[in-house]
Amino acid sequence: MGGGWMDLYEARLAQLARNGDRVAFRQLVDHYQNKIYHLAYRMLGNAHEAEDVVQETFLRVYKNLMRYDPAQKFSTWIYRIGTNLCIDILRKRKRKRNISLDANLFDSESSDGYDFMPMDEAEQPENLLVLSETRRQVREALDMMPEQYKSIMILRYLHDLSLQEISDVLELPVTTIKTRLHRGREFLRSRIEHSQESG
């Protein structure tokens, strides 16, 4: 996520933006729009909602610049805003389908919920059944995980955040992050077919 000097540079850009410097704010948009887009796309599964999350994230950053603490990394702050927006959207989806929040989503029987998620097929053309099978399988398995587990997998493996950074973003202790990361891996291991089984 960039060395120490990048963090200082971004904190300085945020301070300039706070004083009304739109050019500085635009630089922050350039640095982070792709990362937030990929985070939201992986969490929510479609481009339309991902774009909305990107726009809303930067709007919230802009409106809350007065509250940004330059001692904290800008990346932590913006990742937190983006991740929490995605988690809220996923929770609203669950409520709409009247699935109990207590349901154990690791239970393979309760995977019906997945069918109603607005997923894009755009990632791989539908006619490439074999070539896209592996990615589809892991994507589906990932989408079965509860938001807090899914977000940790995404931040760790697709955004290369350290455990401490994830802890800062989600405002949870590192030990909790570790437990959920370990359980997440085990869940995906159980859902993904391995070469011996698919013969």
Binding site: G20, Y62, K63, R135, R185
Partner: protein
């Protein structure tokens, strides 16, 4: 070591948090225990597969984002302030009417006035007030009827009264306040009495 411990250590290893002596112990166990070895390989595949979901393409949303931001205030003149506090407009008009003698004084006064604690650091050339490169002014700089050029650093606030300034906002640590026209001057003096600008 038992297999339950080994699996826990496999996860620690994947987090990058297993020390080298424990890595050796784990490695020894994995050499001997085929089910744990299998378990480890499957977890490695999990990592590989998740990483496969990395995307490259993303739309450029910059213009859309910048367009969605609330409009910006340019300079903090008294008119902007009054727009946000309409109840005070009547009071402001009263003040202007009652203190109109200030206005005539203001009209005739075009003298360059510089206020700073560190006079020795600045250069005055005609009506230009320059903070040279390499100099740092600690404290506020207030200039009336002048053109301010900040090439060095100003760690306080800059107040420009009926003048202009050239500086990057990166060189100025505090706020930049631009005061022009009669109303602003009166407000500036009044605000000065209350200790805020």
């Amino acid at each position: 070591m038992d297999c339950k411990q080994a699996v826990s250590w496999i996860h620690e290893y994947m987090d990058g948090e297993l020390n080298s002596s424990n890595q050796a112990i784990l490695d020894e166990h994995l050499r001997q225990c085929s089910s744990c070895r299998e378990h480890f390989k499957e977890l490695e595949i999990v990592e590989e597969r998740v990483q496969m979901l990395r995307m490259k393409a993303a739309p450029d949303l910059t213009d859309r984002i910048m367009a969605s931001l609330p409009p910006q205030q340019k300079s903090r003149t008294v008119l902007n302030w009054l727009k946000r506090h309409p109840a005070l407009t009547a009071a402001a008009i009263f003040v202007i009417v009652m203190f109109s003698s200030f206005a005539t004084l203001w009209d005739t006064n075009e003298q360059l006035v510089i206020s700073t604690n560190e006079f020795e650091k600045i250069i005055v050339d005609g009506n230009r007030v320059i903070v040279p490169e390499g100099q740092t002014i600690n404290g506020d700089l207030i200039v009336e009827n002048g053109e301010i050029i900040v090439e060095g650093m100003l760690l306080g606030n800059l107040v420009v009264i009926d003048g202009s300034y050239t500086a990057s906002s990166a060189n100025i640590g505090g706020r930049i306040t631009i005061v022009n026209r009669m109303f602003d001057w009166i407000w500036y003096k009044i605000a000065g009495w209350f200790g805020t600008v």
